[in-house]
């Protein structure tokens, strides 16, 4: 196992390097706003522009810029400064990291708590009304775009505007504190976002688990379990679900890794200050250091979580040997 982990970590470094390089190239070659002009404000004088360019090092050839960037990153863990507002990129990202993490992991808890039981029941009661309702609902949840779902839920349930004011609406996320330090404000603000974000995932996981479990229940070892005289509940859960659920671990890792920096739509609809919003704004404003920073953090999250679930998988399935 250890050589496997080491190999994966080395690959992670290589991948991150490649990603950072590609991002740089994209920014460099694609026509976008001139960061100096953005920084300078209205009607800048040519001298101002020139001096900004020099400060930001924009006159150097791209490979020099890239190399300097890498050096700062690796040696000082310094992601540079935003072209927009000169705040440290690192600070911006890490300020928002708890927010995005809470959103992503909270949604994951919700979608697992909903999706897994629904999937199991659908499989056990295949063909009955429960199964049909569940799968029909899943279809709707998958098809509905998350921003639509978000807006509809605001329309219906938001405390300030909604028809049935139950939950906190837009902009309810407090500016200070995380879920650990300020739960009484954070949690109510995230209830609707969690459910909205979780909806399509719960549906996907339910369908996936249903399919898996149906397949597993026709395996030979289920027949053996029954012929041993085990109670059906034990057969379904200890033998069936236990097998069917291991692939879920793999996709869970992937989904979490992606969501950490990609929950842009949810963050926008509910006005949550997460990394997704940050990245989106930065792209619009050609703020390369910020974009680079979010891309790297996102990539790291995905690769790392992938490695983690692969390791967990080896513990779940004894046949897997690295």
């Amino acid at each position: 196992m250890i050589p496997f982990i080491i190999r994966r970590l080395l690959w992670m470094v290589v991948l991150l390097l490649v990603i950072s390089f590609l991002t740089y190239i994209i920014f460099y070659t694609l026509p976008a706003a001139d960061p100096a002009a953005l920084r300078a404000g209205r009607q800048p004088s040519p001298e101002l522009l020139a001096s900004i360019r020099q400060t930001l090092g924009l006159d150097d050839p791209w490979y020099i810029q890239y190399f300097k960037y890498l050096k700062r990153l690796v040696l000082h863990f310094d992601f540079g400064y935003s072209y927009q507002n000169n705040i440290s990129v690192k600070q911006q990202i890490f300020d928002r990291l708890p927010v995005s993490a809470t959103l992503a992991f909270g949604a994951a808890v919700v979608w697992l708590l909903i999706g897994i039981p629904v999937g199991i029941i659908s499989a056990i009661r295949r063909g009955t009304w429960m199964d049909r309702v569940a799968m029909g609902g899943a279809l709707v949840a998958i098809s509905a775009p998350v921003y639509w779902l978000g807006l509809v839920s605001l329309y219906l349930f938001s405390k300030d505007l909604g028809k049935f004011p139950i939950f906190e609406g837009q902009g309810a996320y407090p500016s200070t504190g995380s879920i650990f330090t300020n739960p009484q404000e954070v949690i109510p603000a995230l209830i609707m976002p969690w459910f909205v974000l979780a909806a399509s995932f719960a549906a996907v996981y339910a369908r996936f688990l249903r399919g898996n479990l149906l397949e597993v229940m026709s395996e030979d070892y289920i027949r053996t379990a029954r012929s041993k005289g085990l109670r059906e509940r034990r057969v379904v859960f200890k033998h069936g679900v236990r097998s069917a659920i291991t692939p879920i671990v793999t996709i869970l890792g992937l989904d979490l890794g992606i969501l950490l920096t990609q929950a842009i739509l949810t963050e926008t609809v509910f006005n949550i200050p997460g990394i997704g919003r940050l990245a989106f704004d930065a792209i619009q404003k050609s703020d390369l250091p910020t974009v680079q920073g979010t891309v790297l953090v996102g990539a790291f999250a995905i690769i790392f979580l992938n490695l983690l679930v692969d390791i967990v998988y080896a513990f779940l399935d004894p046949r897997v040997r690295y």
Binding site: T224, S227, K228, G229, R242, S243, L316, P318, R319
Partner: protein, 408 residues
């Protein structure tokens, strides 16, 4: 009283293509401590009948089960699901063909063995583990205390099947059903497992039902044999009679078509022409008639049932039943010719098979308009209610029961 008595068991499955008559009127008995062999090919219904004894057919939603199964005095078909559960793995146990896929890949075998015990006995885990180690030793697994912690994929095929046997016998069942237990194993391993099963049977006095397509296996391990074809038992006798004096053309066909180490090398194999029939659209009359070299007109209209083969004069109350409409004398003459090495074509030249004379005791259902005489002394009674035609099958090709080639 027999340990297991199966009487006119019918197991039909409702499918989109029609009703599959997997088991269509099967009767057999197993005495305590005895071994019954059920021989058949794929589609004969041999596995389904045993799965039904175990109560496992109930889990498929579309099964229609009729008839009777009495085990140790209990009516199994009328038993509740919970009653059946307490019997499974306890009084009746089953082992299957592929030991790798039959064990859960994620759990240690020790845990799987302990689970089998604790489902039926109120013992501590430590006690269950001790018993598991004891059983593993009994089935010949070296260093059982250490291997308790191994996973199924860490064993070889033969070892895995031994684990399955240990798991099946761990609660001292009265009856063990073995469904093709050695088919997936190498020849030398097969010998080990058969040896083990025989030894354990004697030591523990367990009754065995051995399901297989391999006539060599039943010759070694069983006392009585039932030959199944298209969901019915077509011949039922003790082992010696089946091999020395078989009376059903299908049994003859099987015996003559398998290559054997003990017959002359040059002797031609005589295949049974055609293919096993569809269980949805079974041939009218005798299910074997499309493939039988000795078929007569009457055989397409009369459904045979098991009847005693007349010449049971070998004493000892040995049962020999066969479901064939040919007169007993004719059958014996045919076999006498076949065993000298003649092929069916030659046999037909030398032995007279009467056109309309049939074995009256073997007559079951007659499918003909009332009043018609389909054979000597056999007149159709009230019209037989014909079943509604099943929905059209996509293409009759795969279900075509006709011979698909000139004899080759």
């Amino acid at each position: 009283m027999a340990l297991l008595e199966v009487n006119d068991l019918k197991v039909h499955f409702r499918t989109d293509d029609g009703i599959v008559k997997a088991v269509d009127g099967v009767s057999y008995t197993v005495e305590s401590g005895q071994a019954l062999g059920i021989v058949g090919e794929s589609g004969s219904g041999k596995s389904v009948s045993s799965l039904t004894v175990m109560g496992l057919t109930r889990f498929a939603g579309n099964a229609i089960i009729e008839g009777s199964i009495v085990f140790d005095g209990k009516d199994l078909l009328a038993a509740s699901d919970e009653d059946m559960r307490t019997l499974r793995g306890n009084d009746i146990a089953m082992i299957f063909q592929d030991p790798l896929s039959s064990l859960h890949p994620f759990y240690k075998i020790g845990d799987q063995l302990v689970e089998a015990i604790q489902a039926h006995r109120d013992v501590s885990k430590a006690q269950a583990l001790d018993r598991s180690v004891e059983m593993l030793g009994l089935v010949g697994i070296p260093e059982p205390r250490r291997r308790i912690d191994s996973y199924p994929h860490e064993f070889s095929g033969g070892m895995r099947q031994r684990v399955m046997i240990a798991m099946a016998l761990i609660n001292d069942p009265k009856l063990l059903i073995a469904d093709e237990p050695t088919t997936a194993l190498d020849v030398t391993v097969q010998a080990q497992i058969l040896d083990l099963i025989q030894r354990l049977q004697k030591e523990l006095d367990t009754a065995i039902v051995m399901i297989t397509h391999d006539l060599g296996v039943v010759a070694e391990v069983t006392d009585d044999i039932g030959v199944m074809y298209a969901g019915r038992i077509v011949e039922y006798a003790d082992k010696e009679a089946i091999f020395a004096a078989p009376e059903h053309p299908y049994t003859w066909g099987l015996l003559k078509s398998i290559p054997r180490l003990d017959s002359p090398r040059g002797e031609e194999l005589v295949p049974i022409p055609g293919r096993p029939p569809s269980l949805i659209l079974k041939p009218s009359g005798c299910a074997f008639h499309p493939r039988c070299p000795y078929v007569r007109e009457a055989h397409t209209k009369i459904d045979p049932q098991l009847a005693p083969a007349a010449d049971v004069g070998n004493g000892g109350g040995h049962r020999h039943e066969v479901a064939c409409l040919l007169p007993g004398q004719t059958r014996r003459a045919l076999w006498a010719a076949l065993r000298t090495g003649q092929v069916p074509d030659q046999v037909l030249e030398n032995v007279d098979v009467p056109e309309t004379a049939i074995d009256r005791e073997a007559v079951g259902e007659v499918l003909a308009p009332a009043g018609t005489e389909v054979a000597d002394g056999v007149v159709a009674a009230e019209p037989v209610a014909t079943e509604p035609a099943p929905p059209a099958v996509t293409d009759g090709l795969s279900q075509d029961a006709g011979p698909d080639a000139p004899r080759r």
